[in-house]
């Protein structure tokens, strides 16, 4: 017997064209791919082309191929070594601090305690402020003369002419630390602001990872007599390692590619004590108008990016297996 509504033929096939997953899938993906190719892929190629030419803001034609001239000229500049060192220092130290602090904080927030919602809100705050504006608030907190932090340190007799128990204050007898004026301290300030800013995001990711650990496993660990530290290092951290890895890599990229903190806090200074590759690239390329050299400086981030990319791919694959 014939079933009403069941008809074959080409016309029907056409009507159901969008039901074919092999067609619908790529079709739905296409706009995103076009957008990304046009505004990420193309500029990336353009960046490489720029770095191999002598384009400036005044003359943007790409007809003059200069090979690796830009790179060799940059490498010879004393600022380059400093910017590269600073970038690596900035990325590594802030990531180590962030991951240690975020693991601790995630441990705390995975407990139940009174006032947790308020604590959570307070912890998220740095992440909610636009980064440039948050950094400017720190600019005040670290002011060379009126810094409230210095003030508190003075009140605690850790700084200033009046030391503790008749001795000199630990942090020096000057009235101010001048956070943003000294070589080491400026870098430390930049790192501190960056940790302040990224800690919420990492904490939230690790907190999510902790909640995916099955209750049974933790109960079993407790029955097996594992204490707090053993549980943390031998059960929890190994189990959240894939997500932790992704969080670290995320943080590294966000740190290495960031210029808002450095730009607003120190402009790379004093001298170039806190210059990092992104800010230097900005000063050369946009403010100095030498697009070619600016692009070349930024491209020094590419090897780092590739390493991280490979690590992410590996982690993603491993987490698929487990």
């Amino acid at each position: 017997m014939r079933v009403p509504g069941l008809r074959g033929g080409v016309r029907v096939q056409l009507r159901y064209l969008l039901d074919r997953e092999g067609l619908l899938g790529p079709l739905m993906l296409l706009p995103a791919i076009i957008y990304i190719l046009a505004l990420v892929g193309f500029p990336l190629v353009l960046a490489i082309a720029y770095s191999l030419s002598d384009v400036t803001a005044g003359d943007t034609s790409l007809d003059n191929f200069v090979g690796l001239d830009n790179f060799s000229r940059i490498i010879k500049r004393p600022e380059f070594r400093r910017a590269l060192q600073n970038t690596i220092l900035f990325v590594v130290v802030s990531q180590v601090l962030i991951i240690v602090l975020a693991t601790t904080l995630a441990q705390i927030l995975s407990q139940d305690f009174r006032g947790k919602a308020v604590v959570r809100f307070l912890i998220i705050l740095p992440w909610a402020a636009p980064i440039a504006l948050g950094t400017i608030a720190w600019l005040w907190l670290l002011d060379s003369e009126f810094s409230p932090i210095d003030l508190i340190l003075r009140e605690l007799h850790l700084l200033g002419p009046a030391g503790l128990l008749g001795r000199d204050a630990i942090l020096g007898t000057d009235t101010n630390l001048v956070w943003l004026g000294r070589e080491r301290l400026t870098m430390a300030s930049v790192i501190m602001v960056h940790v302040w800013r990224l800690l919420p995001l990492s904490t939230v990711i690790l907190l999510a990872a902790l909640t995916t650990i099955p209750r049974d496993v933790l109960d079993q660990a407790e029955v097996d007599g594992a204490g707090f530290w053993r549980t943390l290092f031998q059960i929890k951290i190994p189990l959240i390692l894939p997500i932790m890895g992704i969080a670290i890599l995320f943080g590294m990229i966000l740190t290495a590619g960031d210029m808002a903190v450095v730009y607003n806090l120190t402009r790379g200074g004093p001298v170039y004590y806190t210059q990092v590759l992104p800010t230097w690239s900005f000063f050369i390329g946009i403010e100095g108008g030498s697009l070619a050299q600016g692009a070349a400086v930024a491209l020094f981030l590419l090897p780092l990016l590739l390493v991280v990319t490979i690590l992410v791919l590996r982690l993603a694959r491993r987490s698929e297996v487990t």
Binding site: M1, V3, L6, V12, Q13
Partner: protein
């Protein structure tokens, strides 16, 4: 109403042949069960019929029409998933009416149809609830009601009882079968549970490794298994297989009785049966032992009804008999059923 037919149907996922050349034809209005262990391809076959998967080769016909390339919505089928797949964001009423909306049925007619279906299944009090507020049995009924209102040509059911507890499953089995008989729609039912298959199916297709090993009534596939897979998959405990030269002799545990117990005394085949263990199960006794085969001893079981009171102890050596007509013969290498062989 319509018959479902597949011709040379194949489905490959990468290297895995999930369905490997299935020719199957349902009868009008019958209850056809696809039975097999997990991974045998029965669910994939059902999904191919539903149009949720596209075949690698072969054809699916519904009501005599080739429906390859037609999406599920054009096939006039209804399906119950193992999870019931109730839409969690809709009330029971909207869950059931959802397919009617797709057909463009007007509001009054929708109301009427939903009420009809829910009264048949006795869930007309639950219309305003959400799926998460329902018990397992109620969810199953909502899923069935959702199929009923569509007035489909074919019912496809994918292990719809496996999420129910054992007690509920027995009564649900009964209701489901009665419902199917009452509305008389061709039904294809996938399960790995042989009790469900035997109890509900008009015919059973036993599947293994992507192929249909045997298609027949429950009695046919139990009494006359086509190969050793079917013979050992059905029955609990399964058929005993004892090797003799190039063939295997099969006999069911319930036919393997102590000598002297069967009333008919002629045409009996006798085996020497050293007993290793006895399990007392109330209605039955399970007796475990070995029977000598060509290449060594074979573990063998006997199931004695409680009416057989002959004392049997572990460690003893007994003589057991099987009526000659209950012996089935299989080729040792291919596993296929053969004619009787001399013992």
């Amino acid at each position: 109403m319509a018959v479902v037919e597949t011709r040379g149907l194949k489905k490959q996922f990468g290297e895995v042949k999930a369905v490997d050349g299935v020719d199957l034809s349902s009868k009008e209005g019958e209850f056809l069960v696809l039975l097999g262990p997990s991974g045998c391809g029965k669910t994939t076959l059902l999904r191919l019929i539903a149009g949720l998967e596209q075949p690698t080769a072969g054809e699916v016909l519904i009501g005599g029409q080739v429906v390859n390339g037609l999406p599920p919505r054009a096939r006039k089928i209804a399906m119950v998933f193992q999870s019931y797949a109730l839409y969690p964001h809709m009330t029971v009423f909207n869950n059931i009416a959802f397919s009617l909306k797709a057909q463009g049925v007007d509001k009054a007619a929708r109301q009427e149809k939903v009420e009809w279906a829910t009264s048949i299944l006795g869930i007309d009090k639950l219309l305003q609830r959400r799926p998460r507020q329902l018990s397992g049995g109620e969810r199953q009924r909502v899923a069935l009601a959702r199929c009923l209102v569509r007035e489909p040509t074919v019912f496809l059911l994918d292990e719809p009882l496996s999420n129910l507890d054992a007690q509920l499953r027995a009564s649900a089995r009964d209701e489901l079968q009665q419902l199917q008989q009452r509305i008389g729609i061709t039904t294809i039912y996938v399960t790995h549970d042989q009790v469900e298959a035997m109890g509900m199916g008009d015919r059973i297709a036993v599947m293994y490794q992507g192929q249909i090993r045997q298609l027949g009534t429950p009695r046919e596939i139990y009494d006359e298994p086509g190969d050793t897979f079917v013979a050992t998959f059905l029955g609990s405990p399964p058929m005993n297989l004892v090797e003799r030269d190039t063939h295997l002799i099969g006999f069911r545990p319930e036919h393997f009785l102590p000598k002297g117990v069967p009333e008919v005394q002629d045409n009996l085949v006798t085996f020497s049966f050293p007993v290793t263990r006895v399990e007392y199960l109330g209605a039955d006794r399970l007796v475990y032992g070995v029977v000598a085969g060509t290449s060594g001893d074979t573990k063998t079981m006997a199931r004695l009804p409680s009416t057989v009171t002959v004392p049997i102890e572990p460690g003893g050596d007994y003589e057991f008999v099987v009526p000659a007509k209950e012996l089935k013969f299989f080729d040792r290498d291919t596993g296929l059923r053969t004619g009787p062989k001399p013992l």
